[in-house]
Symmetry: C2
Subunit: 320 residues, 2 copies
DNA sequence: TTGTATGCGTTATCAT
DNA sequence: ATGATAACGCATACAA
């Protein structure tokens, strides 16, 4: 910058103004721009961040990128941030509590301008003073929680199964034992079943439990080749997919004998194909909202939580 | 830091040394550490980067996170970088040449300590002086290209199909028209077929071509319900998966009538399940090598390119 | 072994 | 409107 100033025969402050789009004299403008071009100058973001004690970096903390929901979310977040001239610094935790905490605290060293996280640590300490948005989990006051309408989605799943003729429903889930937004998928499901007076069953286990418990469950509810349930709502597409495979191996036909609805709307290769009939989360919009919230600096009116609408999509595991 | 120095009754330099693990007097060490603890001090990475003109940030440029290969790669890169106490700044290009260029140039503003990129821009200008590793494409001298053994993989695919009794093979591909490492999948396939004296056909189209050309192709090679080809090697798992669906819709059975082998080893939900029989890329190791190369600062002996071994995995679309 | 002082590239606050 | 200058937080060369 000093070189540019010398080359253009102006002062540092003038160069800074030109770089930042602050109006300067016509001739100065030209001279500075020429010098910048000639010297191939480009701003040093570290220096700028140091000076203004704020970078354009947004920290994103996710469990992994294996799960299509997470990778899709990361993809949308990255694009949305880029659209706003922000950079995404990504951290993956594999749900390790200590890592989640480490990465959140790292933001204090990095002068990040915001944090978007999806965590499970029950005692997570969130840095104060950094705009933070949490996905699918309430992290306490001042930190907005963004989620899809899990309750409505669970309810919708039950309705769709019933519309398709199911009369004996079950909800299957493997997930975090800690209270979080996704619990509402069950609540909505249960409510819809109860309202309709339809019998239902819930089989919920903690993350880490071997998948075989679901195989055992399904086998235990199979009598003379006929299943006790004709409609299954799985808390995630991944589980729905596994259940589908298991049922096939057991000789049951999907959707003829058993219908399955998942949750997420994960697309196999980013194209339109779903791996199961499912409740689709509006991932793109969730990302947009997260970025909006984390970048807005009006701390007076940040909402406590935001629930975005979901929709049902057919994906082969229900009757049309 | 100034506060810490005052609190501990020492000079700034001493605090700096403690923070950076440079030996200082026993009592000083204690006093500084206590002060750090008491004040909740943490280094300012921007300032450190400014001063040392080097951050711990590594820039990663990928097309997207939809494709399981990319998301898996990003996942592995992120973890590997974290293991080395580096942060990953992720940029997604959707193969947009201008974006690819923008993001590469941004590294000059960011003082990143390295770049790992997977790009297609044929005239890409790479910042000089920043250690750079390219995946699946040669970017010129001084920039190492990391790839799986595409030639060997193509060859292996042909061999496996032949071992499984295929006698009429075809290679299908949609990809960048620019020369890149993945072209060798075809070369290896062609060579293996030629060596075995087996007839084969190659159907290659450029990215962006509608998928329907493959449907047309398959239909054109179907006579009286019998296909001209009994073994297909697809350049990616994604394509293999699509082809599989198309064949099913055409009433052909996989693998009974036609066997398919893909390339990548994409796992559906991060678990072990493959969506097709495939040539598996060692993604984890590729990520490790990329990070190794980009962090090593021995510019004297950076290899021109590195090809990592692949293996065949059964995934349901070939006979056992 | 510890303290002091300087500069990294910016931006903002002054005078001019 | 422009120029000079200080300060952001840290690391290091050098002096003590």
């Amino acid at each position: 910058m000093k070189d540019v100033a010398r080359e253009a025969g102006v002062a540092l402050g003038t160069v800074s103004k030109v770089v930042n789009g602050i109006p300067v004299g016509k001739s100065y403008q030209r001279r500075v721009e020429d010098a910048i071009e000639k010297l191939g100058y480009h701003v040093n973001r570290q220096a700028r961040a140091l000076r203004s004690s704020k970078s354009n970096i947004v920290e994103v903390v996710l469990p992994d990128l294996y799960n299509p929901f997470f990778s899709r979310l990361a993809d949308c977040l990255c694009r949305e941030l880029a659209r706003r001239s922000r950079q995404m610094m990504l951290f993956l935790t594999k749900c390790n509590y200590a890592l989640e905490q480490d990465y959140l605290l790292m933001s204090e060293q990095q002068m990040v301008s915001g944090i978007i996280c999806l965590t499970y640590n029950p005692t997570l300490r969130v840095p104060r003073g950094i705009p933070t948005v949490s996905i699918d989990r309430n992290l306490g006051p001042g930190i907005t929680c963004v989620a899809s309408d899990n309750y409505g989605g669970g309810s919708l799943a039950a309705q769709k199964l019933m519309e398709n003729g199911c009369t004996r429903l079950a909800f299957l889930r493997t997930g975090s034992p800690l209270p979080n937004e996704t619990d509402k998928r069950r609540d909505g499901f249960v409510r819809a079943c109860a309202d309709a007076g339809i019998p239902f069953h819930c089989e919920c286990v903690n993350d880490g439990t071997p998948y075989s418990v679901f195989e055992d469950f399904l086998r235990a509810h199979l009598h003379d080749g006929r299943p006790d349930f004709d409609g299954l709502f799985c808390a995630t597409d991944q589980l729905a997919h596994q259940i589908h495979n298991t049922l096939s191996r057991m000789g049951l036909r999907v959707p003829e004998d058993v219908q399955i609805i998942g949750y997420d709307g994960a697309q196999l290769f980013g194209d339109q194909e779903l791996c199961c009939s499912t409740i689709v989360q509006p991932i793109e919009e969730m990302a947009r909202v997260c970025v909006d919230l984390v970048l807005q600096d009006a701390p007076d009116k940040i909402p406590y939580s935001i629930h975005l609408p979901v929709c049902y999509a057919w994906g082969g595991t229900t009757r049309r």
